[in-house]
Each structure stands twice: as C-alpha cells, then as structure tokens.
C-alpha cells in the first residue's frame, strides 16, 4: 500500500492532468455525438457522456491530495482537515439523479418519435421548422 502511495505522489501531476483531461475529453466526445450523430439513441448516449464528464470534473475539483473520504467515524472525529471537499460530491449525486431522469425521459421520447415517424434518423424527422 505504501508503494502505491509513493508511486502516487511521484506522478501526482500526471494523474491530475489525466483526471482533468479525461473529464474534458468525455465532454468533447459527448458534444461530438450530440452535434454530429444522426441516430437519436446515439444522441441520447452523447448527452449521458457529457454528463459523466461534468460529474468527473466536479469530483476532480473537490479532490485534495492525500485526503480521505469525507466521512466521520468513531476515533476519527477531528479528521475534517484531512478530508476531500464534500460539497462537490453532494452536488454530483444530485446531478447524477437529474441526469438519469433526463436520460429516461429522452429515451421515452425517442420511442414516441420512432412510432410516429417510423425512423430514428434525425435528418428524416423535420416536420417542425420555421
């Protein structure tokens, strides 16, 4: 376990870059799917990937080097200075629930659209226009 910690401290800049980079990559991949994919389900998947990226960014921002999870336990009552910031984690929990609801609603709308237009290709669904 100590070896792992040493390794972690040695490459901490790299790991920070990796976490933030992953979050931003996820957001960009999701945006790519939402903007350029034609299939409705793929667009919904893109929305979920964007959400995941934003959530990862939140958790990464709240992280403090060498800290524990923000949980008070017996014998550990004064550990607050050694904890990661709990607020972003609470926000992410809320955001995950909201993201879940939106995804479920989006998929039900996709089913409705498919029944109405008999296609899931967004280019062929364009009865509403200026």
């Amino acid at each position: 376990m100590t070896e792992f910690n040493d390794l972690f401290i040695k490459y901490k800049d790299l790991i920070t870059i990796a976490v933030y980079g992953t979050a931003i990559m996820l957001i960009l991949i999701g945006l790519y799917a939402v903007l350029l994919k034609k299939h409705l389900v793929k667009i919904v998947i893109g929305l979920s990937i964007i959400d995941a990226g934003v959530h990862l960014l939140f958790v990464a921002v709240g992280y403090i080097q060498n800290s524990t999870a923000p949980i008070f336990s017996p014998g550990n009552e004064y550990a607050a200075p050694k904890m990661v910031d709990p607020v972003p984690q609470a926000l992410v929990l809320t955001a995950i629930v909201i993201g879940f609801a939106v995804t479920a609603l989006a998929l039900s709308l996709v089913i409705r659209l498919y029944k109405h237009h008999h296609t899931a290709n967004i280019d062929q669904i364009k009865s509403l226009k200026w």
Partner: protein
C-alpha cells in the same frame, strides 16, 4: 399557523405525488387538488408580500443550517412580487383548464395536472431560492416537466418538439453546471449573497468565463436569441393551457434567473450593453419571424420571444426607471400573453384549422372570445387605454433619459411590425367573410371567468396604473440594491 416561503414548494410537491393515490378515492381529485393547492399559493403569496413590504426581506433558513452553509429561500420585494404574479397566473390557468380534456380515457388528465402543478412549483422555486445549485435543481424540475408536457399529445407531433427542447435544455444544464463549478472553485460557496460578496477578489478571466457559461445556459431558458429555436415548437405542440404557462410562468422564471445572476452575482461592465444588443436582436428576429407565420400559436410564440427581448433591453438599460419598466412589462407580458393563448386556443378548437385562415369570421361564432382576443392584441402592442401601453412608455422614457435615440427608433419600428401581424389577426376575425357552421365548442363558464379576470386586470391597470406602480417601484429598487440583499442574508446569522 405560521406562513413561510417553504409552503410554495412543499404544498405543490406533496399534492403532486399524492394525486395518484387520491384519484383512487375520488375520481375528480386530479382536477380539484391542483386548484386548491394553487389557490393556497395565491393566499400565502399575498400574505407574504404584505409582510415583505412591511418588515423587509424574509430570509427563510431550511433545516437549521444558516445561510452560507445551508440552503435559504429569500423573499425580497422583487421576488415576492414575481411569486405573487406567478401564483395568481398559475391559479387562473388552472381555472381556465379546469374542464380540459376531461373526456380523455385512461386517466391521462391526472398526469397533465401533476406536471402542470410541478412546473409552476419549480418556477416559484427558481424565483425564491437563494442558493445557486438549488436554482439549478429547480430549473431542471421546470425543464423535465416542460419537456413532458410538450410531448403530452400522442397524436400530435409533440415528441419532436419535446425532444428538441430536451436536447437544448440538457445542453443548457451542462453549461449551467460548468458555470456553477467555476464560481464554486473561485469563491468556495454556493450561496448567492456570499458569492456576490466575494466576487470582487475573483480574477477577471474566471469571471468572464463563468459569465459566458451563465449567459448561454440561462439565455436558453430565457428564450434569448440565438438559443430560442426550441420555443416556437414547444409552444405550438404543447396543450394550450401549457402554452399559456410557458409564456406566463416559465419564461418569467428564466428571465428572473438571468437577471438575478447578472445583477447580483456579477459586476462586469459591458454586460448591460450585451443585454441591450442581444435583446434587440431577439426582438427584431422574433417579430420578423412572427409576421411570416401562418399558424396562430406559432405567431403568438414568436411574439412571446419578442416581448422577452424587450424585457432584456429594459434590464440592459439598467436605470431604476428602466428596471421598473422591465418588471412592469414582465407582468404585462405574463397576463396578456396568457389571455392571447387562452382565447386563441378556442379559435383553433373551433375551426379544425390551426392556421390563421381559421380565424376568418370568428366573431359571429364566438363574439365574447373575439372581443377578448382583440383587447389582448391591442394591449400587447401598447395602445393607450390598456396596461401594455404603460410598460412600453416607461421603457421608452428611460431610454430617452439615457440618450439612446437609436434604441427608441428601433423599438418603435419593431412595434409597427408587431402591430401589423396583430391587426391582421384581428382583421381576419372581424372582416374576413367565411361560411361558418354553428359553434361546436362554446367556452365553458370557468374558462370565461378566467379570461374575463385577465381582461379586467388589463383594463384596470391600463386606466389606473397607480394601483400597481408602488409594488413595482419597491421591486425595482430591491433588485438594484445589491448591498442590502447581501447584508440581509449574511447579517442574520
């Protein structure tokens, strides 16, 4: 019983989730319960507004966690005025839609009533919350209910409009989360008063980035150009009472969120000019699009976007008189546009033709509804004896005080466009000749009461605006007095 702002949110949410159970006991509960709850909201909103005006800002602490740490609900004269307005209109729209689709099979009405009530509760939540992340949650409640209501009709093309709205709405929520994240990393708090206090020490670059994300995210909710492509489809495809709610409640909440963030959180110079420019483009594009529409509800939707553009212009001018005019216009827009959607839906209902051609000769079929529609059309363009005149008048005066002559010319030119398409609609009702069948759907009594109430309000405020200007003036000064807001929230520890 002690009345507190929490009731605004708790009562509708409790009722919404109790309705499926209550309908098992009594079949009409789905239609009656929302009315009782919304009426209760009206009563407490009047009571709380009196308290706010007498004793100053109400700062409601939730669960004993004091403001910088916990979530707080804030009633300033501005938010108290908006909640009163939203509650009254919510109740009126319920009254209008009381007999709505009661013939639909399978208890579908139940879902409509639940979603409608939650949409109004969510909008009130956006207005009264004092916490940035809490505002995001309420915006999502409004969003999810609005997407579902847009896709309410299975036989119409609602799903397409709903999906479009959902796509744009979830991108907006992503941007809003990113903006909140930036604010949180820079100030270490989510309480709006504390953010306002600490905003001075935030680097300019971070401020601008967060501001841009906020403008994108809330601009979508507030129907600001070029982020408003969802609006006409959603307004057109949604059930008519819901279209009225979009105009009267949801867009008001969106504009409020934008204004609260720009006026209280940020002190970036130049954002006012941005509001004026974007507001003007919003208004111009929307009114030009409205004049080309052949569908009545789409025309009203574009007109709605145009009104929001004018509200943004007035907030952008930023003097006290302009903010006063902006809040007045928000009130007028909510009342008049609801009346237009309410009356307009009866024309559509009776003609099988959703296009403007369907209006031809309607005054013979529906004389009273036609008169109310014409009254609302004249009021929204701003003819003198009606309330719409005063809001536009105050905005123009404030623009002339700031020596913005081009803006005045622009607003008046756009008003001419507005006049053209509203007069065209009214002209079709009264002067176009058309062979007509008998009336198939006479307006029901509750709808007539709701519409007459709104029309009466337009006329009374138009003739005697002093009954409302006192509240508006308090609201405007409370929005502009940022230091007072911060002290009242953080000082009451």
């Amino acid at each position: 019983m002690v009345i507190s702002p929490v009731h605004y949110i708790v009562a509708p949410l409790l009722a919404a989730f109790a309705i499926p159970l209550l309908t098992k006991l009594y079949k009409d509960a789905a239609r009656l319960v929302p009315g009782i709850v919304l009426f209760y909201n009206v009563v407490i909103s009047f009571e709380l507004m009196q308290q706010v005006l007498k004793n100053g800002i109400i700062n409601e602490v939730i669960a004993g966690w004091k403001p910088p740490w916990g979530i707080n609900l804030v009633l300033t004269p501005f938010t108290a005025f908006l909640t009163t307005m939203v509650s009254v209109l919510g109740f009126t729209i319920w009254l209008y839609g009381f007999r709505f689709k009661r013939t639909l099979k399978g208890g579908v009405v139940k879902y409509y009533e639940i979603l409608q009530m939650m949409m109004i509760a969510g909008s009130i939540g956006v207005i009264i919350t004092g916490d940035l992340f809490n505002m995001f949650v309420f915006i999502e409640i409004v969003g999810i209910t609005a997407y579902s209501l847009t896709a309410f009709y299975r036989e119409r093309n609602g799903a397409e409009a709903g999906f479009k709205y959902l796509l744009i709405g979830s991108l907006a929520s992503t941007f809003l989360l990113l903006a909140i994240l930036i604010i949180y990393t820079q100030t270490g708090t989510l309480n709006m008063a504390q953010i306002a206090e600490r905003m001075g020490s935030v680097p300019q670059s971070m401020k601008i980035t967060a501001l841009i994300f906020f403008l994108i995210a809330l601009g979508i909710e507030a129907e600001m150009f070029p982020l408003n492509a969802w609006a006409p489809d959603a307004y057109e495809q949604a059930p008519s009472p819901t279209s009225a709610t979009f105009a009267a409640v949801v867009s008001i909440a969106g504009v409020y969120a934008l204004v609260r963030v720009l006026f209280t959180l940020f002190d970036v110079s130049g954002v006012h000019n941005y509001l004026i420019v974007m507001g003007f483009i919003t208004m111009l594009v929307a009114e030009i699009a409205a004049i080309t529409q052949k569908n009545l509800k789409r025309m009203l939707a574009y007109s709605s976007i145009g009104q929001v553009g004018l509200v943004l212009i007035a907030f952008g001018i930023g003097s006290k008189l302009a903010v006063f005019g902006a809040i007045f216009l928000m009130l007028n827009h909510a009342v008049i546009k609801s009346l237009l959607f309410m009356t307009g839906s009866y024309f559509i209902y009776n003609s099988d033709d959703k296009r403007l051609v369907g209006l031809n000769g309607m005054h013979k079929q529906l004389p009273y509804v036609s008169a109310l529609f014409s009254l609302a059309a004249f009021a929204i363009v701003g003819f003198p004896p009606f309330s719409g005149f005063w809001s536009k008048f105050y905005i123009l005066i404030s623009a002339s005080n700031q020596k913005m002559m081009y803006l005045i010319i622009g607003i008046l030119l756009v008003t001419i466009i507005e006049l053209v398409y509203y007069l065209r609609a009214v002209g079709r009702i009264y002067f176009a000749k058309e062979e007509m069948d008998d009336v198939a759907h006479k307006p029901s009594l509750n709808a007539l009461v709701a519409m007459s109430f709104l029309a009466l309000f337009i006329i009374i405020v138009g003739i005697y605006p002093d009954i409302i200007t006192g509240y508006l003036s308090d609201a405007a000064s409370s929005l502009l007095d940022k230091m007072h807001y911060v002290q009242q929230i953080l000082g009451s520890k």
